[in-house]
């Protein structure tokens, strides 16, 4: 926490923390408390009248079927993104850990989508699946399947999941590979001497030992899907069709900036904050455990 040895008292440390504290106060603490306050207000669309309504905005949200459907969509979306990108990354990491030659080259070839902005990723996938032009939708129609994510909610969901998961594979791959490489070789050798083949070893030794990494990545991926996929949604589906991909973050933006329902949007922000805090706490508990381990 603090060095045993440190500099004597002076005004200097205050000057040193000053910039960060100012930025934190002005752009974090103040807006966050504003969000809390606004979530208790009811404002008309022109901003002429505001009324303090306590938890009415929250009550409305709870009784709003659209909000619940957005909630459900977010959960499904996050689960699918996490599952798809993690399982794909895990399989690749296990193979990459096996091959001695070229695992560095594979790493280089696999990690670049991390650098791609969500919007750019969305643009690539929307181009490939463009109902009239896209290469993959063309291939699908040749197989007798007419793809149109602009009309079909399920297809829209599948597309945003693929685009979001594609971008996250790199991250998961790096962590899985690092986790695999930190498993002591002697354990694998001991299992081999016990007569376990490669597949058995993977399931009996490697996956259980990898579970801390897996849990950590699960939390990270859920946070990613909750908050960082805004760009993908905005570009690929804009929450549609008919709200089929309207995840919570997108709804906050839409209700606040497009619908100008400030109180409702603020109440949604507050709920999101609670979710983030919950996830952060889980992550920190896990980090503590990992330290003890």
């Amino acid at each position: 926490m603090l060095k045993n040895v440190h500099f004597g008292p002076s005004v200097l440390p205050f000057l040193l923390v000053f910039p960060q504290i100012v930025v934190t106060l002005v752009f974090f603490i103040w807006p966050a408390s504003q969000a809390l306050y606004q979530s208790l207000l009811l404002e008309d669309a022109f901003g002429l009248k505001t009324e303090f309504v306590w938890f009415k905005n929250f009550e409305e949200l709870i009784h709003d079927p659209l909000y619940w459907s957005s909630f459900e969509i977010t959960v499904v979306f996050s689960f699918l993104v996490a599952f798809l990108s993690m399982s794909f990354a895990l399989v690749l990491a296990i193979f990459a850990d096996r091959v001695i030659k070229g695992s560095g080259a594979y790493r280089t070839l696999l990690i670049w989508p991390y650098a791609v902005a969500p919007v750019t990723a969305g643009a690539l996938w929307v181009f490939m699946f463009n109902p009239t032009l896209g290469i993959i939708s063309y291939a699908l129609s040749a197989l007798g399947y007419e793809w149109n994510h602009q009309l079909n909610g399920g297809e829209a969901m599948a597309l945003v999941v693929m685009a979001s998961a594609w971008k996250q594979v790199a991250y998961n791959f790096l962590f899985f590979l690092a986790g695999l490489q930190s498993i002591p070789k002697s354990l694998i050798e001991a299992a081999a001497i016990d007569g376990a083949g490669p597949l058995r070893r993977t399931f009996d030794i490697i996956l259980p030992l990898l579970s801390p990494t897996t849990f950590f990545l699960l939390v990270i991926n859920i946070v990613y899907a909750f908050f960082e996929t805004f760009g993908v949604i905005h570009v690929v589906t804009a929450g549609g069709p008919a709200g089929a991909t309207n995840i919570l973050v997108y709804k906050v933006f839409n209700d606040g900036f497009v619908g100008l329902d400030l109180g409702g949007s603020a109440a949604q922000s507050v709920i999101l904050m609670i979710i983030v805090i919950g996830l952060t706490v889980i992550q920190f508990k896990y980090v503590e455990k990992r330290v003890a381990y």
Partner: protein, 282 residues
């Protein structure tokens, strides 16, 4: 590996190549589309092999933009993105280094209070406090400015934590030796602490540059003047225009341009990038 199974090794390579193909497919298709003339982009099926129109498209994208738009191209947007990413990365590193230095190396009143104040920002991603933050920036008159684009994204608990961690691993004797050599706090900071944290600073810079370059929602909200748009926003704009005039060749060239700087950083500074990722996510 433990035992020699050539077939399994070959199978592993096949699976990995398959994985690389899946990951690389969208990027390949983008590259191909960026190398064909506009007319080819309207004929189904679209090409799978590169054409000879790459540099023409590059010129259109950079200098002229899509027909039907303002005719300025995306070169200036690239510059905006670069300025924003640099400001975010440098700004975050600077204020985090200073505050971590204060928190680790000084005992002063409200130290823990400041520490927790910084800590809570870890829990507040920009997306969840977006509306009131927008209002603050608007009230400060920072809309449509580089300051408005970067400063609200600058405060970062993760960077402060990482530097705190790095400083804690530097032996106490370094400070004692420096004090005997007569170095005061700021001299110690510049001459000893910063050079000793060099690789961590570089690793963090790589991560923050990518983070800054890829920002979307925030620039989308606070810029209304086209002169302040970033290249990532430019893609979205073109996609909207594409509903009428599908110029996929230009859109994909823009996407290619938008991902080049961060990909360049990831591939050529791979070890720093990996270090940065694993160290900030703790």
């Amino acid at each position: 590996m433990v035992e020699n199974r050539p077939l399994l090794t070959i199978f592993s390579h096949i699976m990995l190549l398959f994985g690389v193909a899946v990951i690389a497919l969208p990027i390949w298709i983008m590259f191909v589309a960026a190398s064909h003339p506009e007319i080819r982009m309207t004929q189904v099926p679209l090409p799978m092999l590169p054409g000879g129109y790459f540099f023409e498209n590059l010129d259109i994208a950079l200098n002229r933009g899509m027909s039907g738009m303002d005719g300025n191209g995306v070169a200036y947007m690239m510059l905006n993105s670069l300025i924003m990413a640099m400001m975010i990365a440098v700004g975050k590193i600077a204020i985090s280094l200073l505050s971590a230095f204060a928190i680790v190396y000084f005992r002063f009143p409200f130290r823990m209070f400041f520490f927790w104040m910084i800590f809570v920002t870890l829990m507040l991603p920009v997306e969840v406090r977006i509306l009131p933050t927008y209002e603050v920036v608007a009230n400060l008159g920072m809309l449509d400015s580089y300051w408005g684009l970067s400063i609200p994204l600058i405060a970062s608990a993760t960077a402060t934590f990482m530097f705190r961690q790095v400083f804690l691993t530097i032996p106490d004797e370094m400070l004692e030796a420096a004090r005997i050599d007569g170095a005061g706090p700021m001299r110690f900071f510049w001459d000893i602490l910063i050079p000793m944290s060099r690789t961590n600073i570089a690793a963090l810079f790589v991560i923050l540059f990518i983070y800054g370059w890829n920002q979307y929602l925030w620039p989308l909200l606070i810029t209304s003047e086209p002169g302040m748009y970033t290249v990532v926003m430019g893609i979205k704009q073109m996609l909207e225009a594409a509903e009428q005039v599908p110029q996929w060749n230009v859109i994909m060239m823009t996407a290619l341009l938008a991902m080049l700087p961060p990909i360049f950083v990831v591939i050529f500074m791979q070890s720093l990038f990996v270090k940065g990722l694993t160290e900030t996510e703790k």
